[in-house]
């Protein structure tokens, strides 16, 4: 192991509205920090190289891959995971729509998919189905075939526009 990476670094960040201070190995990925050190297991690890999108979460307002970011890079950042979003009803309409439309099956991609969908919806307006599909293309789902997800996102977009 590289000595720089094995060094311990102090970080302070805000996770789901709570201040967190920790001393972490410099090599610690954000997703591992959240899952292993904070017990926030709602974000999932699917590929560890930034392709599948299962670890998508929100850092300083942007959606990022938790597997491509080191926790030291998140020093001082504001992070929201699915747990915090759920506790604060941050995307309740979207979650309800996913349940109603059965836009999830195994649920492994779902937290990341919700963040990606919410990111699109936050841009305002009612995106077309093509636009929704395009925006969700960084998040793989092997169960649904995507149509139910697109339906759910479209429904929420219309609901929010009213």
């Amino acid at each position: 192991m590289n000595e720089v990476f094995s060094a311990l670094v102090d970080v302070t960040l805000n996770v789901n509205g709570e201040a967190v201070s920790a001393r972490v190995p410099a090599e610690r990925h954000l997703i591992d920090f959240l899952r292993l050190d904070l017990g926030l297991t709602g974000s999932h690890v699917g590929c560890e190289h930034g392709v599948c999108g299962a670890c998508t979460l929100r850092v300083n307002g942007d959606i990022v891959r938790g597997c491509l970011m080191l926790v030291v890079q998140a020093d001082g950042a504001e992070i929201w995971t699915i747990e915090g979003i759920s506790d604060t009803d941050g995307m309740r309409d979207l979650q309800d729509a996913f349940v109603a439309r059965n836009a999830l099956q195994c649920g492994f991609c779902t937290p990341g998919m919700l963040f990606a969908a919410d990111d699109l919806l936050a841009q305002g307006g009612v995106p077309g189905r093509e636009e929704i599909r395009e925006h969700l293309s960084g998040n793989y789902c092997r169960c649904t075939g995507y149509e139910a997800i697109v339906d759910a996102v479209e429904t929420v977009a219309r609901g929010r526009a009213q």
């Binding site: 059965n102 779902t110 649904t144």
Partner: protein
């Protein structure tokens, strides 16, 4: 007791309704509990050293540097583990001639594919285990690798397992009628060679296991992402020399399975064996590279197909020569001969014809082992059959719909025995085709295609009929000697407050099993669905069952749940009758209230019965049975399998300049018998279609001639993304099976079974005016351009 399924206004009418899944709300909140989310005290992690060679002798393993690394606790080789874990040979008695070699949890002496585990490093964290694995020095002598399917049996090809004599794992020839005679007298005989690409399931949650051996109790508890907890219980007990009763397999949330997680994986058995040795919890979560090189692959087939038709388009004969290469071992315990066997059993399936010959040749090679993946053999058989039917229609100048009309088994012909010897209780090919043409507006679509063509836009319509094997009996595995349960059970109980708990041997993988069970039990007992709690996936708690495979959950697990629910209703009414001084058969349960059957007048809430039975049993007649727990099991017996049918259509646009294919729309009409939850069934079909499309257009495990898997990452192995997929319209014809009260057959694999064939036929319909044809999946832009002659060579 009968249920008036035709009356949607009947009391407690949950069967047939789209109700939300009870487990979905926690999954959207990130409150799922997958194996990797579980942390146990003193838990260690294992990472495997894997062979970089397709075939190599292991001359020595030096673990010294690894053992000296920080956090590494122990290293195991194949020799170490063979002391505590017996090898297995994956054969089944009813697949005559099938042979395989003993396979160890960790390779002993020899590695036979790139990715096979050759050592295990146990450490405090996964990261430390991986760092340690990189320090294990394995001395290999590379051996010649067998990587070409067609020359696997050639005399000069090395034999992978010399003790087996050759590289032939299995061969089966099935003949019915007079194929040669029919071919000789036919109006047209059309031949084609098809290939289906070797691909894999790419479950978003990788294979995951956490094994915890407790020395004090001599018990092994395994948290496992699996489709078949009871089968795994048996396997761990058998190979680790433990009584079955001392092994408990717990299967919580599973992040996708699709058949990938129904097999015995050497590294998972090794994990359990290491826990047995160390007496500590050991976790193994495959990473994505490991997933690609060690999850089972499937669909690696090459098929020469011939179809003979008369002047009217009637099919006279079909001849199939199927080849498949399965890797170095048949996969335990379901074996790797089933897929080829299914191709033999399923080709020509939708059609009424007499003369059929099919042979499958299953050979060993030095690649990742293949085994059963969603819709086992079906997409291959459907593609070959439907491809040949379309080529016959082309040769006759006949519309693809017309040739199907003339050959599909008549809807009033059942029961029907096909030339494959498969028996069909009741199918609806013609009614399904009628419905398909209606929802897709076939004539309108043909006009759109013609208009597009005038604009220079190349579009095609493809249709594919198919059959699907569901609700398997012991004829699938049990008769071959495998301890894989075809029956399933359900225990339903009423607790004091009137709430209902149902425990089932079928498992939840995201498809909605628990919702289906809750619906069936709610209707069976007569309570609101919110009052039913379903528990699955724990061998210590649920009745013994088979789990999830071959589309059996609803048809078999659902029927057991219905019968258990109805039995509990009778038990409750017996107690109610005594309390109310009324004959039980004059009473009913509706919305958790005992009512007068005739008037519907409310007599007694279930909670009051619960209070009396559990706390004031002294007030009931002494001899009155008060068993508010009922268990029922169900097994199919009249037919080995409940076949379903369906038909799909695809509308595609091909860009002849780039070879890119755009999926414009997809339709599926299928008949899974009684539909318990229309929304869940539709989403099973949609998800299945997209997995089928993946195989048709994108997914392929690509090997170089030395047996190296060259695209083992998600960036290089393409799976369908949201932007590429079409909207899909789904409709149903319902022909319930008469074998069960519920009448449900399976629906989980229909989408995957027919989609590749429909897409292939659509592409070829588009390419036909350009004089091109493709039959080798996946239909990549390169293969389209080669077919068009834009790119030279093959």
């Amino acid at each position: 007791m009968t249920i008036d399924f035709g009356n949607p206004d009947r009391p407690n009418s949950y069967i047939g309704r789209s109700v939300p899944r009870p487990n979905a709300p926690r999954l959207v909140e990130g409150r799922g509990r997958y194996v990797d989310d579980i942390v146990l005290p003193r838990m260690l992690h294992v990472a495997f050293v894997r062979s970089p060679h397709a075939h190599a002798r292991i001359d020595g393993i030096d673990a010294g540097a690894a053992l000296a690394a920080a956090g590494v606790r122990r290293v195991f080789t194949g020799e170490d583990l063979r002391e505590v874990c017996t090898p297995w040979v994956a054969v089944l008695a009813h697949l005559k001639g099938l042979k395989s070699a003993p396979q160890h949890a960790i390779a002993v002496d020899r590695a036979c594919w790139v990715g096979e585990a050759v050592a295990a490093v146990v450490a405090d964290s996964r990261a430390a285990a991986e760092d340690g694995a990189a320090l294990v020095d394995v001395d290999y002598t590379p051996l010649p690798a067998v990587t070409d399917m067609r020359s696997a049996l050639a005399p000069d090809t090395p034999v992978i397992h010399p003790e087996l004599g050759d590289n032939l794992a299995f061969r089966r020839l099935h003949e019915a009628g007079d194929v040669e005679g029919a071919m000789a007298s036919a109006h047209k005989v059309i031949k084609a060679r098809f290939k289906t690409g070797r691909h894999t399931g790419v479950c978003l949650e990788p294979r995951s296991i956490l094994a915890d051996y407790n020395r004090a109790e001599r018990t092994l508890t395994v948290h496992h992402s699996t489709q078949a907890p009871h089968m795994m219980q048996t396997v761990f007990a058998q190979h680790l020399d433990l009584p079955e009763g001392k092994v408990r397999v717990i299967c919580g949330d599973v992040g996708g399975s699709f058949g990938i997680k129904v097999h015995v994986y050497p590294d998972e058995v090794a994990t359990a064996a290491i826990s047995r040795v160390m007496g500590r919890p050991i976790k193994f979560i495959a990473d994505r590279v490991e997933s690609f090189s060690t999850d089972i692959h499937a669909r690696d087939h090459e098929i020469d197909g011939t179809i003979a038709v008369d002047e009217t388009g009637r099919i006279l004969a079909i001849d199939i020569d199927d080849w498949t290469a399965i890797g170095p071992y048949s996969v335990y315990p379901r074996t790797s001969a089933i897929e080829g066997n299914q191709v033999v059993n399923l080709c020509g399936g939708p059609y009424d014809f007499q003369n059929y010959r099919a042979q499958t040749t299953v050979v060993f090679q030095n690649k990742t082992p293949t085994c059963q993946y969603r819709a086992v053999g079906h997409p291959i058989a459907a593609a070959v059959t439907e491809g040949l039917v379309d080529f016959a229609a082309e040769a006759l100048g006949m519309d693809p719909v017309e040739i199907r009309r003339r050959n599909l088994i008549a809807d009033d012909a059942y029961p029907f025995t096909a030339p494959t010897n498969m028996r069909f209780e009741g199918l609806s090919h013609h009614a399904s085709l009628d419905r398909l043409l209606e929802i897709m507006d076939y004539e309108g679509l043909r006009r759109d295609q013609a208009e597009a063509r005038e604009r220079g836009v190349v579009r095609g319509i493809g249709i594919a009929s198919f059959i699907e094997l569901t609700n398997p009996s012991p004829f699938m595995y049990g008769i071959g000697g495998a301890r894989i349960s075809a029956q399933d059970g359900c225990t339903v109980r009423m607790d004091p407050d009137g709430s209902i708990v149902a425990l089932s041997g079928v498992t939840e993988q995201g498809q909605g099993t628990e919702s289906m069970l809750a619906q069936v039990v709610a209707e069976g007992v007569g309570v609101p669905i919110g009052q039913v709690k379903v528990i699955t996936g724990d061998t210590q708690v649920t009745p013994y069952g088979g789990g999830t495979w071959a589309s059996r959950g609803a048809g078999i697990g659902g029927e057991a749940a219905l019968q258990a629910g109805l039995a509990l209703r009778r038990s409750i009414l017996e107690v109610a009758g005594a309390m109310l001084q009324a004959a039980p058969d004059t009473l009913d349960i509706r919305d958790a209230v005992v009512v007068d059957m005739a008037s519907g007048g409310e007599r007694l809430p279930l909670a009051e019965i619960g209070r009396i039975v559990y706390f004031r049993g002294d007030t009931l007649p002494r001899d009155l049975p008060r068993e508010l727990v009922q268990t029922r099991h169900y097994i199919t017996s009249e037919y080995p399998f409940a076949f379903t049918n369906g038909v799909q259509a695809s509308y595609v646009e091909v860009d002849p300049d780039t070879g890119f294919i755009r999926l414009l729309k997809h339709w599926c009409v299928e008949d899974c018998g009684r539909v318990i939850n229309p929304q869940l069934v539709d989403e099973q079909i949609r998800g299945g279609i997209v997995q089928g499309i993946g195989g048709a257009l994108y997914e392929e495990c690509i090997y170089d001639p030395d047996g190296q898997l060259v695209n083992a990452s998600m960036a290089e192995y393409l799976v369908p993304m949201a932007s590429e997929m079409p909207d899909m319209q789904i409709a149903h014809v319902e022909t319930p099976t008469r074998e069960s009260t519920l009448g449900a057959k399976g629906a989980g694999e229909a989408g995957t079974a027919g989609a590749p064939a429909a897409v292939m036929n659509a592409i070829n319909d588009a390419l036909r005016p350009l004089g091109a044809r493709v039959t080798e999946m996946p239909f990549t832009p390169e293969r389209i351009l080669r077919a068009l002659g834009t790119v030279a060579g093959d």
